[in-house]
Symmetry: C2
Subunit: 183 residues, 2 copies
């Protein structure tokens, strides 16, 4: 059920996450959904976002814990994202971003969930920015995450992976220029 | 009706754009909505996005046609966006981004609309990047737009304008460092 919910969130945000669709996609009985998620759609969405947080967090960790120079890490992140986006048929973006942009008065409970996930990702990225002075790491990590999320939007609108490749190339080069490898 | 539709799209994407809500918010009779937009919700959404395209395009033009150095233009763009976002009570993002992330199989007709709007904005930004060699302008413009859209997502999740101010400051500084003012 969580997997089905995550797929729906990644494709069309909260608008796409209907209880009926989850039941249909997961082939789980409707009763079990309300058994595990008595809070219904919003509780299921929160669980799905936490799952995405772990999964994508591990991905960020894998990229930023390498010993590559900072420009290569940034470019690898965007290349990975581009290939992953392509493998979904250009149909699935970041479920956290899609949820954040769909937040309405009846879904405010998901705002702190989205916020905490973005913070945790920025923290993981910041820890791998060896060339950046510690006081600037979180700010650079935030820029990388913002650009990744924005490039995913442009890629979604174009149905190509090119915006991710281009933005990652340009951003990586600029960050590498500002923070050259320590020797 | 277009104004009401745009408000709803900016707040919660396609999921928030219901015909009932538009009728309620605009106080227009339901019949007139189908008179002007026989295609219903998707046709109304397209018209609202075109309205946003013009409005935000004029804003980009105003920022990038000044004679400020490139770093200042970028920072002004993000400061403007931050203040505007704050004035909506941190509730309204970019309607085109929200729509792009909500695209599903029944709303594919809006994809080329989103794509064309993003291209038109990149074109406007690129024209104001005087310090950047012409062959690189579109790529830098795309990076600026991607970062703006992504920072708006982070700001939405935090319900503060800080991510916009920080991302704009960092990105502007990096772009200015790579493309110093011509003398």
């Amino acid at each position: 059920m969580i997997r089905a919910a995550l797929d729906l969130l990644s494709q069309s945000g909260l608008s796409g996450l209907g209880i009926n669709q989850v039941v249909e996609a997961s082939a789980a009985p409707r009763g079990s959904l309300y058994h595990f998620f008595p809070g219904g759609k919003l509780e299921l969405a929160a669980a799905a976002l936490e799952e995405a947080a772990r999964f994508e967090g591990n991905w960020f960790r894998g990229v930023f814990q390498t010993s590559e120079p900072i420009a290569s890490k940034v470019q690898l992140l965007f290349t990975d994202a581009a290939n992953n986006f392509e493998s979904t048929g250009f149909a699935k973006g970041c479920p956290v971003a899609a949820t954040a942009l769909d937040l309405a008065s009846d879904s405010q409970s998901l705002r702190p969930v989205c916020r905490a996930i973005f913070f945790s990702w920025e923290d993981i990225i910041a820890k791998g920015l060896d060339e950046v002075p510690e006081a600037e790491r979180l700010q650079v990590a935030e820029l990388i995450l913002a650009t990744l999320e924005g490039a995913l939007i442009l890629a979604r609108a174009e149905a190509t992976k090119e915006p991710l490749l281009r933005a990652g190339g340009t951003l990586g080069e600029m960050i590498g220029r500002k923070y050259p490898a320590m020797s």
